[in-house]
Structure formats: C-alpha cells, structure tokens
C-alpha cells in the first residue's frame, strides 16, 4: 500500500498559528487508527519542529507521509541553519531571544525533545541555507 502524503505551509510571521499543521496531522492519524502512543509521539515531535521553524527560520514546509509501518515527517526551512548541531541537541541550550521565552518557549528542549519522541531523526543543515529535519515514528 502506498503512503498517504500531506503537505503544509508553516507561516513564519504568525506565532499564534504555529501548530496548526501538527494539529491537523494529529487528527488525521487518530482517524486512520494509529496507536495513541504513535499519534502522540508524532504530534509532539512535529509541534516542537513547527515552533522551531516559526521562532528561528521564518516558517517553512512540512511533508507528512503515513504508511502502515511508519510515519515520516519532513520539516524544511530556508532559515539561518544550525552552526553547531551537537550543541543544539543538548538539553537547555537555546539561542531563542527573551521575546520567545515570554511566549512560553525557548527553554532549549526543542531538538532534544524531538529526538526523544521519534524513532529516527536526521538533521541536514547549512548555515545561511536552511535546515531539514527528517523524523520517523514507527506505527
């Protein structure tokens, strides 16, 4: 069976709308009968990624592929890139400004949390070009 594929634009200028794509994906996965555990893992990881795209990269694009064995989420942005991925993966390390912290984010838990909730995570990033996150959660 071929995978169901969904594409979303993540707007970069509107923090209040961040999470709309993840919310839609969560509902679709539920309707398709994926396990609550898999649904929750995808929802949290993708939501963190979406927030990151809005905070750091001016938005981007999300592609979600659902097949019976696994859910693949690709988040692509043309943002500033991550100069030091190893550092960015450390819990508590954050470059988010205070304005973001006042909104309840930027505690330096985004990428570590994405890693925690996914079964596979690959990050492709280049400074000045952008970042792409490839996430995989087994169904």
């Amino acid at each position: 069976m071929s995978a169901l594929t969904f594409r979303y634009e993540v707007p970069g200028d509107d923090f209040t709308r961040a999470g709309e794509a993840s919310s839609d994906v969560k509902r679709k996965l539920k309707q398709l009968g994926y396990s609550p555990e898999a649904v929750r893992k995808v929802a949290i990881a993708m939501y963190e990624g979406e927030i990151n795209m809005v905070i750091h990269a001016g938005g981007g694009e999300a592609v979600v592929e659902m097949d019976p064995e696994e859910i693949r989420v690709t988040l692509r942005d043309q943002g500033p890139g991550i100069p030091d991925v190893e550092k960015a993966m450390q819990k508590g390390w954050s470059t988010a400004p205070d304005t973001v912290r006042n909104l309840g984010f930027g505690a330096g838990m985004g990428l570590p949390n994405i890693k925690k909730y996914t079964d596979e995570l690959r990050i492709e990033t280049e400074v000045g070009v952008g970042t792409t996150l490839y996430m995989k959660v087994f169904a």
């Binding site: 923090f15 209040t16 999470g19 993840s22 969560k26 929750r40 929802a43 927030i51 570590p112 949390n113």
Partner: protein, 116 residues
C-alpha cells in the same frame, strides 16, 4: 478528582466546557510550554499563567483535558474558541500559581510520581 471538583476547590469560573465530570488523577503547573512538552507524561490538567493559543496547542498535543489559567488572567476569545474546537475545558481562577497548585494537591490531586 473530577474537573468539577477542581473547579470548586479553585473557586474557578468555567470559560469553556459543559461536561465537567471528567476524571483527572494528576496535574502540572508551568508557564514554560517547552517544559510541559519535555517533562509531562499523563497529567490531564495544566495550570498556567501564560496566556496565548500555544497553551491550548500544547494541551492538545499532550492529550490533556483541562487548562486552568491562574491569577485571574483575561483570556482572549480566540484562545477560548481554539479550546472549544479541541474539546479542552478551560477554567480561570483568581488564585496565584503556588496557591492554586497547593489547593488542588491538598484536595488529593498529585503530580507525576517519582523524579525524572
């Protein structure tokens, strides 16, 4: 404890939600949604002083049933609309965070058992 009992303990105003007979066993209190996403497990009720739509989104992603805004915050109608569409109960209490958490704890509600 049910959400209804929690609302009574907090002398809370119900902003969204009709059926309050929802059972909750554990709760958490935080203004950092990053931390909620990172550390919360099965807590069904979130107390927060943060007032933006991402509070509801966070609750939605974490399968939480109820959000309590503390310190008598004015809550934007847009936030309430989002909660309504996601079937999340919203309460508002005049108590501050520490007191609100303490009252619920004294009433029998617990946090996550154990440490990280």
């Amino acid at each position: 404890m049910t959400v209804k009992e929690a609302a009574q303990i907090l002398e809370a105003e119900v902003l969204v939600g009709e059926n309050l007979d929802v059972e909750i066993k554990t709760a958490c209190g935080s203004d950092m949604m990053s931390d909620v996403l990172a550390f919360v497990k099965d807590q069904a009720l979130l107390l927060t002083g943060l007032c933006n739509p991402q509070v509801i989104r966070t609750a939605e992603m974490m399968d939480m049933r109820c959000v309590v805004f503390v310190r008598g915050k004015e809550v934007d109608p847009e936030i309430l609309e989002l909660a309504r569409s996601r079937d999340i109960i919203v309460l508002k209490t005049k108590y501050r965070m520490f007191t609100a958490c303490g009252l619920l704890y004294s009433g029998g509600l617990r946090g996550e058992s154990g440490s990280l």
